[in-house]
Amino acid sequence: MARLIRTEKEVEGRYTEQWVVVDEDALEQWPAGPRETVGRPAPRRDGALRARGEARYTADIRLPGMLHAAVLRSPFARARVRELDTRMAERAPGVRAVLGPGVDPLTDEPSYQGAPVAAVAADTYEQARAALALLEVEWEELEPLLDPEEAVRRNELVEEPNRHERGDVERGLAEADVVVEAEYRTQTVVHNSMETHQSVCEWEGGDHLTVYISTQFLWGVRRRVAEHFGLPQDRVRVVCEFMGGGFGSKNGPGDYTYIGAELARRAGRPVKCMLTRREENLDAGNRNATIQRLRVGARSDGTLTALDGEFVNSTGWDGWLASTGGPMRMLYACENVRTVEYGAKLNTPPMAAFRAPGFVEGTFGLECLMDELAAKLDLDPLELRRRNHTEHDAMDERPFSSKQLLECYRRAEPHWERRDEVRASSDGTWKRGVGLASQVWYGGGGPPSYAWVRVGADARVTVVTAMQDIGTGSATAMAQIAAEELGLPLERVEVSLGDTARGPYATISAGSSTIPSMGPAVRSAAADAARQILEIAAQRYGRDESTLSLKDGRIVSTEGGSWPLDEVTGLLESGQILGKGSRGPNPAGMRVLTFGVQVAEVAVDVETGEIRVEKIAAVHDVGRVINPLGASSQVEGGIIQGLGHTLSEERLVDPATGTILTQTLDAYKLPTIADVPVIVTDLVDEPDAHLTNLGSKGLGEPPIVPTSAAIANAIRDATGADVRSLPISREEMLRALREARERRRDEVGAPTA
């Protein structure tokens, strides 16, 4: 029966209350551990299509009569368009439509470099680009605001500051035996998905719009495009069967889709609007830079008495206040905590969600601070974390639906205990060390999400849902879940996804939510199909339905006898059995979070500042693991992005003009295969007993969260230097080494009691 419930919905750490309709979610969870299919490694189902170059990405869509768009973007961080003459461009060869400021989202007051000002659609992309050069623009360059601290002083903020206070921080600091205070900084990094942001828009009959788009959220694009053009949502169809990476930057339609759709409407032909790599580095979102001023107080036994943090995010011209203070509020038991977060509104490109937004940055600060505290207290950093472990949500006393962080610590011990051996392997100017950092993040998913399961006469199964597989392997996990529930081998199950006209509503693939949101819906749809099959079988074979079950492709009776599944479904000829399922609510009154710890081994050349990360061991609690092979790939991918964030990646802004200096992949340094350390993945794989019919939490984001801090802490272990700024360039490494040398000299010169 459909039930109307009021539930808390969380995406990327942002909570809203909403009504959802769910069907009963009455299935018992499977016992822990590998099942027939679930919990066993499975190569991804669409791997061959992608590897053979047959998968059709948005970049490969070519519709008859398709035009190509090019967008005039502001070359200035802040400017006013005094005059824009489009007449020459309109007469240029191949040009079919031209848009200028006044057509949303094109603007005559661009407030960051790369903001869209005008656009052209032409028969070829080259013609569109040539026509852009014929747009006559009179710019008035204006003074940009680039300094986040200045923006906070002037109250130029993207939203109200986020303040949290519990207990009494000043008292906590007064009661502390030791107080450590430090300022940490993280840089702006860019997603740089291999497939740039793009869409192809095609109108039919003037009031139906199809959008092919590289997206993480088909249904979000559908809703927002419908709102933008004043269309009923059912007249907007959104398609994305294969998608070339997003990492949080492709959660919405983007300006390019509104521009492309408007050009298509005016030209009466389909339009592709695709960002170049340089545009991708300007106007496709980023993980914003942060400044974090942190204080921690603790008793000599390590018990935390106070945590205090002021966080300034360089949010850019638009975006939202990512929760940089989240880890400080949530990771440890501490009665006295105060955080204030500011989102500085600057004349720089807007941020976008990027794989655990806020928590990656905030965990770097907090977990480095904890190790600086451990050093001061002369306590083992792992022991310090254990002593401050919290058994319930530190913010509001809610119990966790599950928490295996202590088990993660236990499993991390063999890696952690290598410290003496690793340090002893230091060689000449190369110093080695080991560091660790803990992780907390969301990842529980939630309703609504729906799936259908279709069983044909040949007893083959198709899972139908309009979700997207953005490269995480979630489609394969859905096939495994359906196969498990129906007692079928995996190869008998297909997954149909990626088209809002073909399947029911599905979750956004962000916030580590696809498996915890969609998985339970798919299982419940498969169970519905199984019930129908058994009802039919009971009639066909004259058995009581309660004695029947599905196993190994057969219908099995506890009273003896078994029949191939296709003997029953074969009765249907061209008929089909249709199972329907939905995602139930999250457990009321509980906090659903993911946890983990990473241990890094590094080598630092103290003469040159060169850093090599040699090994990272990752132990995470994400509930039940559906596909251990795909899960290890997610962990490795997260860590490697974290490695880039720690050592090499940085979007640079010219401080004089606000223009972006790193627009190409030779200037913006992504990790290569040659940079990758040994990565050891260990997932606790204990189902969350309170969460859905699966007990699975999300895994996309947790692995990137602790990587930078674990590396920085290993650097401290190796060299005694406190690195406090990302990326840890050679310059930053040498600065920290110099500072550590001076500190030692001072300590020797003026010994304290």
């Binding site: 061959a48 590897a51 170059g53 070519r62 070339g244 990476g245 790939s633 290569t672 295969i673 990758v676």
Partner: protein, 146 residues
């Protein structure tokens, strides 16, 4: 320009393209071989890698009119055991860089069927993968012979 032909994956194609057309664009738009991907379009990422006479080149910064030799794209390498090896090892996530990875790897193993980890890392460092499938790409190339 007179009629000019190119051999691609064993088939003959007429090159009827304006001056300045890149090989990647010609492959994708003029002869419909969209397996080759364009991710940066300026020779920095390796997604567009194809082989000319067995040598990996960046097709996005190669003019089609300058190509002198037989071109092999992912479409011509679909039956290469590396494809299975990549799928088996889960050496791809979003898959957008994967055709380029496999084309590069195919050239590597043709010259050196059992490359060491160091040799793989050296040869493959020009093929970026933002999803970070690198550990499994290394595994796939080390185990491609089954």
């Amino acid at each position: 320009m007179g009629s000019r032909t190119l051999l691609v994956n064993g088939g003959t194609y007429e090159v009827d393209a304006p001056v300045g057309r890149s090989l990647a664009q010609w492959l994708r738009e003029d002869i419909g071989l969209t397996g080759t991907k364009i991710a940066c379009n300026e020779g920095h990422c390796g997604a567009c890698t194809v082989q000319v006479d067995g040598v990996p080149i960046l097709s996005c910064i190669t003019l089609v009119h300058r190509v002198d030799g037989e071109v092999a794209t992912i479409e011509g390498l679909r039956d290469h055991p590396l494809v299975d090896a990549f799928v088996r090892a889960d050496a791809l996530q979003c898959g957008f860089c994967t055709p380029g990875q496999i084309v590069s790897a195919a050239a590597l193993v043709a010259a050196n069927p059992s490359p060491s980890a160091e040799e793989i890392r050296h040869s493959m460092a020009g093929n970026l993968c933002r999803c970070g499938a690198y550990p499994k790409i290394e595994e796939a190339i080390s185990t491609w012979q089954g």
